[in-house]
Each structure stands twice: as structure tokens, then as C-alpha cells.
């Protein structure tokens, strides 16, 4: 009986699902976030900026709390907080003797603390707080999608126009400086893009899980490729396939969508790692035979 119900659900849903606004929006969100996070996340992973990204993510919770308290869109508060914390971490580690990871630790917890205090002070119950913590790709609004589209276009434009400058500065900052490249300017622009990508994907993946979109597909791509451009394209593909698969699985098994998507990402990563090690062994055997 149960079996039967499941299969009927299977038969009509793919098309039926697409007729639901919420599901179309979720797919669009998955597409846009795969592109933006594919690009920005590859940059983050290449430059070992995962920890600072985690710091920015959690610091932005302070902005969400203040947004609630003042009765405005929490995302606006989060944008301000994420930019301030991103630049704050950079400035603190460059201009003072505070080390970068220590500055991240401080702003990470400060943001969370402020968020909790302001939500506590806000009269009434904060209904979609869980959405900000864990994300909800199924409740993404049209406004969210427009903002994400704008960021996707901005990111694609910036990376395609300045790809080599970004690559060269990221690889060897000091060498780029000796060539009079605008290292600081680029670092700050890219940091701002990282902060914006994080904030706009808090709606999709939540504060706790957003880092997965920025690191897991990219690290998976990095198993096969070690060229930034290829990592970008492959991680976009992995991210898109993983998101769609995750969405469908979560729908049929009635599981939380964000967590399911991440589980699929990690599954892809493990699979890729296994495939790669088999490839390496086979390749070695072949070249030993050829010698």
C-alpha cells in the first residue's frame, strides 16, 4: 500500500512540481546560487578563505537580529553586518597586531551574540528565525530571486573581465604588487563579493549551512582539476546537479531540503574521491607497464 502511494506520487510529481511557483522558484534559486557560489566559492577555496567566510556568515546574524528589532528586512541588516565584519577582519589583521583568525573568532561570536540579544529584545515571536538559521529554498521569494540574479550577473561580469588579474593577485600577492597591480582594491572588491554571496544565500541555505555551497562542490572539483577556471565550471555543474537531486530527494522522502542538498554534495565528494583514487592507481599501473 505504502509502496503504491509512493509510485503514484512519483509519476505525477515531476511535471506537477514544476507547476508550483514555490518549486519553480526553488529551481531558479538553485541555478543562480550554483553559478554565483561556483565562482565565488572557487575563489574562497583557492585562497583558503573558508574560515573568514564562516566568520562573515555568522557575524551577519547580528544584522538579522537588528533588522528584526527595527522592523526592517533582516537581509538589509545582514548585508551591512557582513560587509562591516569582512572589512573589519581585514583591517584588524592588517593595521593592528591582532591575527586574522583571532579577529574572525571575535566577530563570529559577536555577531551571533548581538543577533540573539536583539531577537530576544524584539517583542513577539520571530516566526521565520529557523529559516535564517537553516535556510529554506522552498520559501524563496521573487525579491530574493531578483537580488540573486543581480549578484550572479555582477559576479560573472567581474570574473570574466578581470579573470587573469584576479588569478595572478590570488596566486602571488607580493609579485602582483611588484607589478603595480591594484592588489588592495581587488582584495576588497572580492571580499565584498564574498560577503554579498554569503548574505544572499542565507535565505537559501541558512547561516549554519551556507558554507557548504561555497566549499563542497569546489573541493570536489579540485579533486580532478587544479586550474581555477576549470574548478569554477565543474563546481557550478556539481552544485546544480546536487541541488536538483537534493530537492527531489527531499520532496519524495519528506526531508528538510537544505540539509538533503548538502548530504548529496558530500556524497558527490566521497564518490569523486573514490573515483579519483581508482584513476590514479590505474594511471600509475599503466605508466609503469609502458616504461
Amino acid at each position: 500500500m505504502t509502496m503504491f502511494i509512493t509510485t503514484t506520487a512519483m509519476n505525477d510529481t515531476i511535471l506537477q512540481l514544476l507547476s508550483y511557483d514555490f518549486f519553480r522558484n526553488a529551481l531558479l534559486a538553485a541555478l543562480l546560487s550554483s553559478i554565483t557560489c561556483g565562482i565565488i566559492g572557487s575563489y574562497i577555496v583557492a585562497r583558503r578563505m573558508v574560515f573568514i567566510s564562516g566568520g562573515i556568515t555568522h557575524a551577519s546574524f547580528g544584522g538579522i537580529g537588528i533588522g528584526y528589532f527595527l522592523g526592517m528586512n533582516p537581509i538589509v541588516g545582514a548585508v551591512i553586518f557582513s560587509l562591516l565584519s569582512a572589512f573589519g577582519i581585514r583591517l584588524a589583521s592588517q593595521r593592528t597586531d591582532i591575527r586574522e583568525d583571532s579577529a574572525i573568532g571575535i566577530l563570529w561570536s559577536l555577531g551571533m551574540a548581538l543577533g540573539i540579544i536583539f531577537i530576544f529584545l524584539t517583542p513577539g515571536y520571530a516566526p521565520n528565525l529557523m529559516n535564517y538559521l537553516f535556510g529554506s529554498v522552498l520559501t524563496v521569494s521573487d525579491t530574493d530571486l531578483w537580488m540573486m540574479l543581480a549578484l550572479t550577473i555582477l559576479t560573472i561580469a567581474f570574473f570574466s573581465i578581470f579573470y587573469h588579474t584576479i588569478l595572478f593577485i590570488s596566486f602571488d600577492e607580493e609579485y602582483a604588487r611588484s607589478h603595480k597591480a591594484p592588489v588592495e582594491l581587488f582584495n576588497y572588491i572580492l571580499l565584498a563579493l564574498v560577503a554579498l554571496a554569503i548574505v544572499l544565500h542565507i535565505r537559501v541555505a541558512g547561516i549554519i549551512l551556507v558554507i557548504s555551497y561555497l566549499t563542497i562542490p569546489q573541493t570536489t572539483a579540485n579533486i580532478f582539476y587544479s586550474d581555477l577556471r576549470r574548478i569554477i565550471f565543474l563546481s557550478i555543474a556539481i552544485s546544480l546537479l546536487g541541488s536538483i537531486a537534493g530537492l527531489l530527494i527531499s520532496y519524495y522522502l519528506n526531508l528538510p531540503s537544505g540539509a538533503t542538498i548538502i548530504f548529496v554534495f558530500v556524497l558527490c565528494f566521497a564518490l569523486a574521491k573514490a573515483v579519483r583514487s581508482v584513476m590514479i592507481k590505474a594511471g600509475l599501473r599503466k605508466s609503469v607497464q609502458n616504461k
Binding site: 572557487s42 583557492a46 585562497r47 583558503r48 573581465i161 578581470f162 587573469h164 588579474t165 588569478l167 595572478f168 590570488s170 596566486f171 602571488d172 607580493e174 609579485y175 602582483a176 604588487r177 611588484s178 607589478h179 603595480k180 597591480a181 591594484p182 579540485n222 582539476y225 587544479s226 586550474d227 581555477l228 574548478i231
Partner: protein, 259 residues
């Protein structure tokens, strides 16, 4: 003889610590200068000043004839400065040597690509162009960096400890190539392996807070002591050395000029 770079009464340091004091140095085309000195003596700071990475606290740095499109200085940093696992191809690393001459909207031409391939082939690593940084050994990466320094046809080539990762065979190879390059460009090479570089360089600069310019490639222990330049002289491999006219031990020679 064309003047390329001049440091006049340069003092420099970090925070409140002075690393270089009253340094005067003039670099002309066809110069081949070996910079020696103890660790922490200011060799790297001197390079940073020349590259414009560090502003002198006092004194002036003048570059002559920089304006023309091609980049003025080719720079080989220490390999340890970069993240070897960074996702970048060998070809891109070499092309990054054209950064200042191609601008921020950097697009490289087929001609740039060919130049990069030629340089890699000359360095004996032509087959590695499409490999990535993480697949290279330290010595291979060093050669890629040399190609990066040369691709812009610089007037002055600055090398910071080029013999760190390079094997003995490539080391003498490298120095022979430098002599060849020296016909086209001035070279300044930093090393604590005085014994090796002195065979190839024309002049020696001893840096230990102050800079003493020695207009010969032969330097005696007494002179090193006079320059307040305590050094551990290590020579190894097949590379010939002419430094230290009276040295009894061939391999490790501890030299300490402190009284």
C-alpha cells in the same frame, strides 16, 4: 654604460626597527651583482625597496627609463612565498610576468603564449606547460618562476635565493644561463651561498644593516670582516668557487667576524 637604478642614502625598516641604513647603490646595465650577508641583515628588504614593495623611511630610489611599455624589473621571489596547492597552470604562472605590460583587463595573445612555451622549453620543462602548480617539485616551480621573471624582457633581473630548491645539475646550468642573460640585462642575485655565486658575479654587495659595495668578485675573509658581514661560507657540488682566497677547508667554513 646606462644607469638603471639608483638608491641614495636609503634607510628602511619595519615598525620602529631599522633594517637598512644609509644605503647607496647604483645599478648599470651589464652589472652582475651578488648580494650577500647574514640572515636578517636586510637582503630581502633591499630587494623590496628596489621593487617598490617597501617605501624607504629616508632617502630616494630612482629608476631610469622605466616608462616604455615593457616591465622594468624581472623578479624571482623565494618559492616558499606562494601556496603550491593554489589552482593555477604553469602557463598562467609564466604569463603573469606580463601583468604590468598588459594592464588590468589582461588578455594574452597567441604570441605571449608562444613566448611562454619557448621560455619553458629553454628551461628544460617544455612538457609541463599545462600541468598545474601542485604537480610540480620545488625545483620545477623555481624554473617556472624564472620563466615568469624573464617573459617581460626586463632590463634588470632580481633573484632572491634562486638556489634554494634547485638541484646541483640545474644550478650550474642556471648560472651559465645567467651569464648569457647578462649580455642583455643587469642581474642582481641574493644568496647566502657566497662560494657559488662569487664565481659568476662581477661585483659583490655585502648587506648587514649597511651596504658595502665591493667592485670585484673576489673577496677575502679580512674584507668580509671589515664590512662587518659575518657569513657562513658553504660550498658544495661541482660548482667552482673563487671566493675566499685563503681557505683551508673545502666544504664547511665557519666565518665569524665578531670580536
Amino acid at each position: 654604460m646606462t644607469k638603471l637604478l639608483q638608491l641614495t642614502n636609503v634607510s628602511a625598516g619595519y615598525n620602529d626597527m631599522v633594517v637598512l641604513r644609509d644605503v647607496n647603490l647604483e645599478i648599470n646595465d651589464h652589472d652582475f651583482i651578488g648580494v650577500i650577508g647574514p640572515n636578517g641583515g636586510g637582503k630581502t628588504t633591499l630587494i623590496k625597496i628596489m621593487l617598490g614593495l617597501l617605501k624607504p623611511a629616508r632617502g630616494s630610489v630612482t629608476r631610469f627609463g622605466e616608462a616604455s611599455g615593457s616591465s622594468f624589473i624581472g623578479y624571482l621571489p623565494q618559492v616558499t612565498q606562494v601556496d603550491k596547492k593554489f589552482p593555477i597552470t604553469v602557463l598562467d604562472i609564466v604569463l603573469s610576468g606580463l601583468m604590468s605590460s598588459r594592464g588590468k583587463f589582461y588578455r594574452y595573445s597567441r604570441h605571449d603564449n608562444e613566448t611562454a612555451h619557448q621560455l619553458l622549453a629553454q628551461m628544460g620543462i617544455g612538457g609541463l606547460a599545462h600541468r598545474t602548480s601542485r604537480e610540480l617539485s620545488g625545483g620545477q616551480l623555481q624554473r617556472v618562476f624564472i620563466c615568469r621573471a624573464l617573459i617581460s624582457n626586463p632590463k634588470l633581473l632580481i633573484l632572491d635565493e634562486p638556489n634554494t630548491f634547485v638541484d646541483n645539475r640545474f644550478e650550474s646550468d642556471l648560472y651559465e644561463r645567467l651569464i648569457e642573460l647578462n649580455k642583455k640585462m643587469a642581474i642582481l642575485i641574493v644568496s647566502h651561498d657566497v662560494g657559488t655565486i662569487s664565481y659568476y658575479v662581477k661585483t659583490i654587495a655585502c648587506v648587514n644593516e649597511y651596504l658595502h659595495y665591493h667592485r670585484s668578485n673576489i673577496i677575502t675573509e679580512q674584507q668580509l670582516a671589515d664590512y662587518n658581514c659575518p657569513l657562513q661560507i658553504i660550498t658544495h657540488g661541482d660548482v667552482p668557487h673563487t671566493v675566499l682566497q685563503k681557505h683551508e677547508h673545502d666544504h664547511v667554513h665557519n666565518h665569524d667576524s665578531h670580536e
